[in-house]
């Protein structure tokens, strides 16, 4: 069985629904599943390492390498992090789900250099007093 210990925490039904609505060839669909799966693995392991004290990283990675399916790893992580790791991972997946939905919708984050005129004015007005103050100090 294809299984990783955190599988039970991941149910991206909404993403599946979006994919089902997208006209894809069977091979494209499988490719998409694989890419999303890979993104999940990187994101979950990142979340784990961010929360696990560094001196446990090697031990965890060894355990993960020898039994990626072992659900006992969740208990191990909860103990070593002292946190509710299941809750943290579920939250991470919720964030990722939103990001993936935005990717499907073709939404792109607005780069900072394209700030609206209103925001540019606001930023400038916040910076100006500081400059004036600097000039005064120089005198």
């Amino acid at each position: 069985m294809s299984k990783v210990f955190y599988d039970q925490l991941i149910t991206l039904d909404e993403i599946e629904h979006v994919i089902n609505l997208t006209a894809l060839s069977p091979s494209e669909k499988e490719e998409l599943w694989r890419i999303i799966d890979e993104i999940i693995h990187h994101r979950v392991i990142g979340c784990i390492l961010d929360n696990l004290p560094a001196h446990h990283h090697h031990d965890f990675l060894n355990r993960f390498h020898h039994a990626p399916h072992d659900e006992e790893l969740l208990a191990y992580l909860s103990e070593k992090t002292g946190k509710d790791i299941e809750h943290l991972l579920k939250e991470e997946i919720v964030t990722l789900k939103q990001e993936l939905i935005e990717e499907f919708q073709g939404k792109q984050h607005k780069p900072k250099r394209f700030l609206s005129a209103k925001k540019v004015r606001k930023q400038n007005s916040q910076k100006q007093p500081a400059r004036k103050k600097k000039k005064i100090n120089q005198h």
């Binding site: 669909k29 990675l61 399916h69």
Partner: protein, 302 residues
């Protein structure tokens, strides 16, 4: 050369970004993986190998060949269930299969052991009169016990529309915009035989793409799995249906292991049944005697 779908390109870019970000933050992870020749992207394949190796070791070294891990023999279970039903006016084979299944299956979803699968094969044959196999001609699914989810109708030939799929509530599920893993069932409407129509009506989806040797043995396995008959049993209510494998899926991150056509799902759990635990076994039917569709318990071998 065909163009890549825009969403695939966008997600490929995201994958690269995620990977770079992770390794920039945790360079020791990259080092660890490189040293062991491990790739996070291929962690499922690695997991399959480990599970396969563990099962093999357990079956060779730890489990004596005659030991059924305390599981009762099929006749014992059937006799016990018959005894319980003695006061009833008529035997209830469906009730018997539900009780028998619940006696054997673990509380949590997991791949069944070889012994558990053997026991279920015998019970199914005795109670339903259908010869099934967890391993048929050397092929075995990643799991025979898991969650099934509702799928949409499949396009059977170019130009096929939902209105051509008959009438009734199952049409509400709609038609998948893409094709099944094996493409159209027929090249044209004229080529669509009643047998192919039945295959689309009663189709099952299994995770062929996660089979450990799927890529290596693709030409053989693709043909072997195409329209392969399976028996699906709802472990909660005993409803059973014989279906033909006609698509690959669902993705691992959906939490589901199998899929069923709208008709299959209706038989298993009624009109609004979307997801639930099931058993899936290959039907051993070289003479093509077992028809696709709901299993009639009154014709069982009880």
């Amino acid at each position: 050369m065909t163009a890549t779908h825009p969403i695939i390109s966008r997600l490929q870019a995201k994958r690269v970004k995620e990977k770079s970000r992770l390794f920039a933050k945790h360079p020791h992870l990259e080092h660890f993986l490189r040293e062991r020749g491990l790739d996070l992207s291929r962690i499922r394949e690695h997991s399959v190998k480990i599970i396969g190796a563990s099962a093999l070791t357990a079956s060779f070294l730890l489990t004596p060949p005659t030991n059924f891990k305390g599981l009762p023999i099929p006749q014992e279970i059937i006799d016990k269930l018959r005894l319980r039903q003695q006061g009833m006016p008529e035997p209830n084979p469906k009730g018997m299969i539900i009780e028998a299944i619940q006696e054997i299956l673990p509380e949590k979803l997991r791949p069944l052991s070889h012994e558990e699968e053997k026991l279920l094969e015998q019970l199914i044959e005795k109670l339903l009169g259908i010869k099934t196999r967890a391993t048929l001609e050397g092929e075995h699914l990643n799991t025979t016990y898991g969650l099934i989810g509702a799928e949409q109708h499949l396009r059977r030939y170019p130009g096929d529309t939902l209105s051509h799929h008959g009438k009734g509530e199952t049409l509400e599920e709609g038609m998948a915009p893409g094709l099944g893993a094996w493409g159209h069932f027929a090249t044209s409407k004229a080529e669509l035989t009643s047998s192919l129509e039945e295959k689309e009506r009663w189709y099952a989806v299994v995770q062929t793409m996660y089979l450990p040797d799927w890529k290596r043995r693709l030409p053989y396995l693709r043909d072997w799995y195409r329209y392969r008959k399976v028996l699906i049993v709802n472990t909660q209510n005993g409803n059973a249906v014989v279906a033909a494998i006609a698509d690959a899926g669902p993705a691992a991150w959906t939490g589901k292991h199998f899929g069923g056509s709208p008709e299959v799902m209706q038989v298993l759990g009624g009109l609004h049944y979307k997801k639930g635990p099931v058993l899936i076994f290959f039907v051993d039917d070289p003479e093509n005697q077992v028809p696709l569709g709901p299993v009639d318990y009154t014709k069982g071998a009880v």
